[in-house]
């Protein structure tokens, strides 16, 4: 239906007084992709989105949308449309006038703009509510109105600021599917800010994990999950154990390290100098109960907590030098050799499941 734009963010910073909210980040968001900016609160993802939208000035660097440098353009001249966190629907206007607002500002006559707005509401299956006020709608409906209002300008990129955070869990999952469908239908670039890794994985073609105003990793969801670049990403994405130690030896693509007060482990990764601090990630669902056939891919610890989750059981284990190690084993495997809190239990994993984090 329309032209999607590539968004190129070139060493962009946002500085408030002495606080650096966004610290010289660079990413290229491919045209027509669904990009999620992911991170904990205060990581700089919202200022980044607002700078793309033009609601926040850029302290340093440039933003290019398509072929145009938009760094100093007002929001409406950029070809972007923003959907606000609380939707920011105009409470005094009915749905038609809300959706037609940007057309009214552009001086489109009443008949034309109302007809176009009604078409947009039809697309969102809200035409039956056209004369209602936003307050008379449910959260999910309000979100669809906000989408309709953003899309009526026919943008090249849609910017969504935590669009699902105000919805209840059930609706969240439904609206997630609708967003994905809409993205496919429109083919424009979506940039979506969220703090939920689940949401990002479900929606994105490209996940940008941010922390402290910097980009930790920008890659496909699968790569971010399977090969987290840093200890922060591994912890934030969840489902990973991070163990830290000091390197005692390296071979090609193999690093051996000692955990302080604990055992020696081996993980795959670029060689590191001996004595350097190193973090390794181990998928919680790839940990199995039992003695390790190979040295360096397991340890024995005390079970401190058990959580039954139906298809799986979550074990929390305290080992020498390792605290809060999580193992998620299938219910079948667990009940084959049940353990109780306080038991010592041997754990192991496959060689390819332990990876070294961070650049050398």
């Amino acid at each position: 239906m329309s032209k999607a734009a590539e968004i190129d963010i070139a060493s962009v910073s946002k500085i408030y007084g002495k606080t650096i909210a966004v610290d010289s980040i660079s990413i290229k968001i491919p045209a027509g992709s669904y990009c999620c900016l992911l991170g904990p609160s205060g990581c700089g993802k919202t200022p980044t989105l607002r700078m793309i939208a033009g609601h926040e000035s850029v302290s340093n660097g440039d933003i290019v949308l398509g072929k145009e440098v938009v760094t100093n353009l007002p929001p409406a001249k950029r070809g972007t449309a923003m959907m606000f966190q609380s939707y920011a629907l105009f409470p005094h206007l009915d749905l038609i006038d809300n959706v037609a607002f940007s057309l009214k500002m552009a001086g489109v006559d009443k008949e034309t703009r109302r007809a176009k707005a009604l078409d947009m509401l039809k697309l969102m299956q809200l035409d039956g509510y056209a004369n209602r006020r936003p307050a008379q709608l449910s959260g999910g409906q309000q979100q669809r109105v906000a989408l309709a209002r953003a899309l009526i300008t026919d943008p090249e990129a849609l910017l969504l600021d935590e669009p699902l955070s105000a919805l209840d869990p059930f609706l969240k999952i439904r609206m997630r599917a609708e967003l994905k469908k809409l993205h496919k239908q429109l083919g424009i670039t979506f940039v979506h800010v969220t703090h939920s890794q689940e949401e990002a994985m479900a929606l994105a073609d490209m996940v940008v994990v941010m922390s402290d105003g910097r980009i930790e990793q920008a890659a496909s969801p699968r790569e971010v999950f399977e090969r987290p670049a840093t200890a922060f990403v591994a912890r934030f994405m969840g489902d990973h154990n991070v163990i830290s130690g000091k390197v005692v030896g390296s071979a090609e693509n193999i690093v051996t390290f000692d955990v302080v007060g604990g055992g020696t482990f081996t993980a795959s990764g670029e060689p590191r100098p001996v004595g350097a601090d190193v973090d390794a990630a181990i998928r919680t669902d790839h940990v199995r109960i039992g003695e390790s056939p190979n040295k360096g891919f397991g340890f024995t610890g005390i079970v401190t907590n058990l959580e039954y989750r139906g298809p799986s059981v979550k074990l929390t284990i305290e080992g020498a030098g390792i605290s809060e190690f999580t193992a998620i084993v299938t219910d079948k495997a667990f009940y084959a050799t049940p353990v109780a809190v306080g038991d010592a239990v041997p754990l192991h994993w496959d060689a390819e499941d332990a990876i070294i984090l961070g650049a050398p």
């Binding site: 007002p74 929001p75 409406a76 606000f84 920011a88 105009f90 607002f101 500002m105 552009a106 209002r149």
Partner: protein, 285 residues
């Protein structure tokens, strides 16, 4: 017994307010209403049920002219205070960035209220008088030859003083109202391509209506009931309804003043009802 206490508790809790409102609001209005039907002469007033107080008030062209004059003041003062109030509140709410500065500037707006109405009014006299600051300044600068006569003891002076006295009653509710407007609405409007004046006209003004309505009620009721400003600033050359009542009272024509007061009360209540019909202020309360 216990049951009785449980049932009586809500009534007991409501009693202080009921007593207060009854004693200071309901009883005086009731007395006013009763007295307005009494008879009177130069020496005193006599319990009776006569309607000529009303007939006299409503039948006299002086009353109508005075009401017209008062309504004229109300309309002009309302228009000026609403204009000023809107822009002052808009500046405070949307252009002052820090909350501290907002509060400081708002307090600055209230500083004149630390002195009494009368003092603030009288302090205009040396400013506006024949040999006052403005006139001597203008004459001294050679802009005019003769002092301007209409600066003091004129309708202009009355309106100026009223605007000075009552603008804050407009600023406060509008400011309070605007502070509750979600700032992301302004951003959403800007995202939709609205220019500054379009944002004000299409978003802020409609959403500030309840505040403007409350301010309007304050200003209109204050102006309609004003007698001191009109008397002092017009030098006795202009009349208002309240001033007319005061004159009647000084002639001991209490029943006539009471009838006049009832008419004014009804008129003001009708005006307030009209405002409430146009704007839903419940959101603001």
């Amino acid at each position: 017994m216990n049951n009785l206490i449980t049932r009586a508790t809500p009534y007991l809790q409501a009693t202080p307010l009921l007593a207060l409102l009854g004693f200071f609001l309901a009883v005086p209005i009731l007395l006013l209403l009763i007295v307005s039907f009494w008879d009177y002469d130069f020496a005193g007033m006599y319990p009776a049920f006569v309607t000529f107080n009303y007939a006299e008030t409503l039948g006299s062209w002086v009353t109508w002219k005075t009401y017209g004059n008062t309504l004229k003041f109300a309309a002009i003062v309302w228009a000026i205070t609403a204009f000023l109030g809107f822009w002052v509140a808009y500046f405070l709410a949307f252009h002052v960035r820090t909350a501290t500065m907002q509060m400081v500037l708002f307090l600055v707006c209230t500083v004149p209220f630390l002195t009494s109405n009368i003092i603030r009014m009288i302090s205009w006299i040396p400013v506006l008088g024949r040999n006052g600051l403005v006139n001597s300044g203008l004459v001294g600068a050679g802009i005019i030859d003769q002092p301007l006569e209409w600066l003091l003891y004129s309708d202009f002076a009355v309106i100026l003083a009223m605007v000075h006295l009552y603008t804050l009653f407009m600023v406060t509710p509008i400011f309070n109202n605007m502070m509750r407007i979600d700032k992301s609405l302004v951003e959403a409007a800007r995202d939709a391509g609205a220019k500054d004046w379009q944002i004000i006209w299409n978003v802020i003004l409609p959403l500030a209506k309840p505040g403007i309505a409350i301010g309007t009620i304050f200003v209109v009721t204050l102006v309609m009931a004003d007698f001191s400003t009109v008397q002092v600033m017009s030098g006795g050359q202009s009349a208002s309804v309240a001033l007319m009542m005061r004159n009647q009272m000084s002639l001991l024509q209490y029943p006539a003043a009471a009838a006049n007061a009832v008419v004014l009360l009804v008129l003001v209540l009708l005006m307030v009802a009209g405002i409430l019909r146009i704007v839903d202020i419940r959101k603001e309360l």
